[in-house]
């Protein structure tokens, strides 16, 4: 029996990955024992009926700080992440100023440390100011205290193939990966705000076709093959992208991809009322794309779920549809959505959820200490999920600063109950500690 300390927590009766029930003893931030254990001296968390997963890792979060602290800050975004069961998030670079220097990356990193609720790992911009022309100081960001490994101009596509090639080559020096927002800007068009299809034709909205994503994914996997580097496809949204990924993986090309919870469940039909809540980039697609994305996540063609959590102040959504900001909240609801779409439907197990929402994203991002199995000696980054909850989403109950929540009023069958970051509870009984 491990000696117990004030920092000792016993998770009693948790269902590990939904597969076997056991007590988990956490001592000083590390999983010390697993089995049928005594509670003596330990703070007991009743985990009976709860599924224990490694703490979730989000490859794609927008925290808005610096620049738009009215929409989200590192602190409020960290709260939302913890409430969603995350223990690490990658903060996208399209802040103001852009995270394109070592100093900027360290600032975000330090704000995350100060917030102390999740590990906030900055993503560095690929190009200076997201301008798409000159490489940002990728190496300095990688060598900084923030230890940046993922680079992305997200919000914009690195459209110039020469720039993309050089970025892929350059990040090889420090094991980096380029996460691409795949959207050919010319094919998509300057005002594109939704999926191009029958509905956009009827509504008179400028749409962007799926092929604008697919041509960039196809180009980038060929560049990854040419350079021998790693490319990551952010928020894949079409069946055509899945086909390209499947082929690329069959060829052994080092490509990984993520899908958002909203692209797994919501369809473009929601735009018929011009509600900017559902305006997101890439856009919501038709049902056949959604089906293809679900199948690809289940069979491993798509590697990870990432939220693309994109908070916006209310007034930034209260414009005409074409003028409103892109994006929707996602951190607090990602796990309930994935459970609903993938687990309740039988497409995936809880162990699969752990793979796509923790283990694989941590590996893609090179995050040590996250995405480990629930095993003795691993850091106690753990989320406990109630798999038989009756959760009705209330946007006004969110801990995010923003309210652009597409799930408001929807009911899900799973909910995050407790989150532990290195053994310290950040969320207990569904509330922030």
């Amino acid at each position: 029996m491990t000696e117990q300390t004030p920092g000792t927590i016993l998770l009693r009766g948790a269902s590990l990955l939904g597969e076997r029930s056991a007590d988990v003893l956490v001592v000083d931030g590390v999983i010390a024992e697993i089995g049928s254990l005594s509670a003596e001296g330990a703070r007991v968390v009743d985990a009976d009926g709860l599924v224990a997963l490694p703490g979730l890792v989000d490859l794609h979060t927008h925290l808005r700080e610096p620049g738009r602290e009215d929409a989200e800050t590192v602190v409020t975004g960290s709260r939302a992440a913890a409430m969603g069961g995350f223990t690490a998030v990658l903060a996208m670079a399209n802040t103001s100023p852009v995270t394109d220097t070592a100093e900027a990356a360290e600032r975000v990193h330090d704000l995350g440390l100060a917030a102390g609720l999740v590990d906030v790992q900055p993503v560095g911009a690929v190009t200076k100011g997201l301008g798409g022309e000159e490489l940002a100081e990728l190496g300095l960001m990688a060598r900084s205290r923030a230890r940046v490994r993922v680079f992305s101009d997200d919000g914009r596509c690195v459209a110039d193939p020469r720039v993309m090639r050089r970025a892929l080559e350059y990040v090889k020096a420090f094991g980096g990966v380029v996460s691409q927002h795949s959207q050919d800007p010319d094919l998509a068009g300057p005002q594109s705000c939704c999926h191009e299809g029958e509905l956009s034709g009827r509504l008179g909205l400028p749409g962007w076709p799926g092929v604008a994503e697919e041509v960039i994914v196809a180009r980038d996997v060929m560049l990854a093959r040419h350079t021998g580097s790693r490319v990551h496809v952010a928020h894949a949204s079409t069946a055509g992208t899945v086909e390209v990924l499947r082929w690329a993986k069959s060829q052994g090309i080092a490509v990984t991809a993520e899908v958002t919870p909203h692209h797994l469940l919501l369809t473009t039909d929601l735009l018929s009322g011009y509600d900017p809540t559902y305006k997101v980039n890439p856009p919501l697609r038709p049902a056949e794309d959604v089906e293809a994305l679900r199948a690809a996540l289940a069979d491993g063609t798509i590697d990870a779920v990432a939220t693309d959590h994109a908070p916006h102040a209310r007034h930034d959504k209260e414009h005409a549809f074409v003028d409103a900001a892109f994006g929707m909240l996602g951190l607090e609801t990602a796990l309930p959505v994935v459970a609903s779409v993938m687990v309740e439907s039988g497409l995936m197990t809880w162990a699969d959820v752990a793979r796509v929402m923790s283990t694989t994203p941590a590996a893609i991002a090179g995050l040590e200490g996250h995405g480990r199995g629930l095993e003795v000696g691993a850091p106690a980054n753990i989320v406990l999920v109630d798999p038989s909850a009756d959760l009705t989403v209330d946007r006004d109950a969110s801990v995010s600063l923003s309210r652009n929540n597409p799930w408001h009023g929807r009911t899900f069958g799973a909910a995050v109950r407790h989150t532990l970051l290195r053994g310290r509870p950040t969320v207990l009984d569904g509330s922030l500690v």
């Binding site: 034709g201 909205l205 011009y274």
Partner: protein, 309 residues
């Protein structure tokens, strides 16, 4: 009728017939020496035009004045977003002044619907981006019915830049519901995405071949080529467009003298419509303008003149 007129979808065929019947009465008012009716005395209508317009704005303004409403025009280029204020804040500020109706034009599709969810006033969509322009469709249908007697079974061609045309989107709904057999003609690059499915469901035909469709037409509606909305090359040259899709002098001869020609204006003479066709005896272009006034008086009357109107 409902509180707002945002789309042709808001109207039943009975509603349209009611609007047309009242429009016929309003049309007679235009021939009077004193053109004023007291129907909307004490009502305030704001014409809120975020996008340039001459004929629609002045048509609604005169319609309101002849019904004795107080009409105020607010115009401004660009969207509220470009000024930094949200659209919601803009319209709430304006309607806070005690407005009964907001006649709104905006460059963004769906904006009229969005605004109707924020304000208490009646909202009349005077053109939202490339989505709809219901009063234009109603005046077009009214004009054609006066000329053809009925739209039931009449073959109407809509020709031109369909992708960017709100007039097309409202007209195709309005005309098909009133019994017309509608064929839309455009080059493939100017057909809206998904039009094949849409046309099957909505009951209209599509064609890339104007010369094949033209001889069968009972009426032709030419649509403006909206060059200002075109960010890329939708067709190789103006000359090629005219050869393929313009209502040229030769095509006018094929059409014959009894087939009415409509155009919502402003016309690109020499591009989508030859001067001969625009000025032909069967051209209804000016009738559309005068009918438009009557139809808009009718719309305002039915939306604003009180219970049971």
């Amino acid at each position: 009728m409902r509180k707002h007129l945002l789309s042709i979808d808001d109207l039943s065929v009975d509603d349209m017939d009611t609007i047309f019947a009242t429009a016929a009465e309003m049309h007679d008012v235009q021939r009077r020496e004193v053109k004023k009716l007291p129907a909307l005395r004490g009502r305030t209508i704001i014409n809120l035009f975020f996008e340039d317009s001459t004929r629609t704005r002045s048509s609604f303004e005169i319609a309101g004045k002849w019904l004795s409403a107080d009409t105020i025009n607010i115009t401004g280029k660009g969207s509220s977003a470009s000024k930094g204020e949200s659209l919601r804040d803009t319209v709430l500020t304006i309607t806070a002044m005690g407005v009964d109706a907001l006649v709104m034009r905006h460059a963004a599709s769906g904006s009229a619907l969005q605004v109707s969810q924020w304000v208490d006033a009646s909202v009349i969509n005077a053109g939202d981006g490339t989505h709809e322009h219901p009063s234009q469709a109603l005046l077009d249908a009214y004009t054609l019915r006066r000329t053809l007697g009925t739209l039931e079974g009449k073959r109407v061609l809509l020709v031109g830049d369909l992708t960017h045309s709100r007039v097309f989107r409202s007209n195709v709904k309005c005309l098909t519901r009133l019994g017309a057999e509608v064929t839309v003609v455009a080059p493939p690059t100017l057909m809206p995405s998904g039009v094949d499915t849409w046309s099957r469901e909505a009951g209209f035909a599509t064609s890339y071949d104007l010369d094949e469709a033209l001889p069968k037409a009972d009426a032709v509606m030419m649509l403006r080529v909206q060059r200002e909305r075109m960010s890329g090359g939708f067709f190789p040259s103006a000359r090629e467009y005219t050869v393929g899709y313009g209502l040229t002098r030769d095509r006018l001869a094929v059409l014959g003298p009894d087939v009415p020609i409509c155009h919502p204006g402003p016309m690109n003479r020499g591009l989508e419509i030859a001067a001969d066709a625009a000025d032909a005896a069967q051209s209804l272009v000016l009738d559309q303008v005068s009918s438009g006034l009557a139809v808009r008086m009718s719309i305002l009357y039915h939306l604003l003149a009180g219970e049971g109107a």
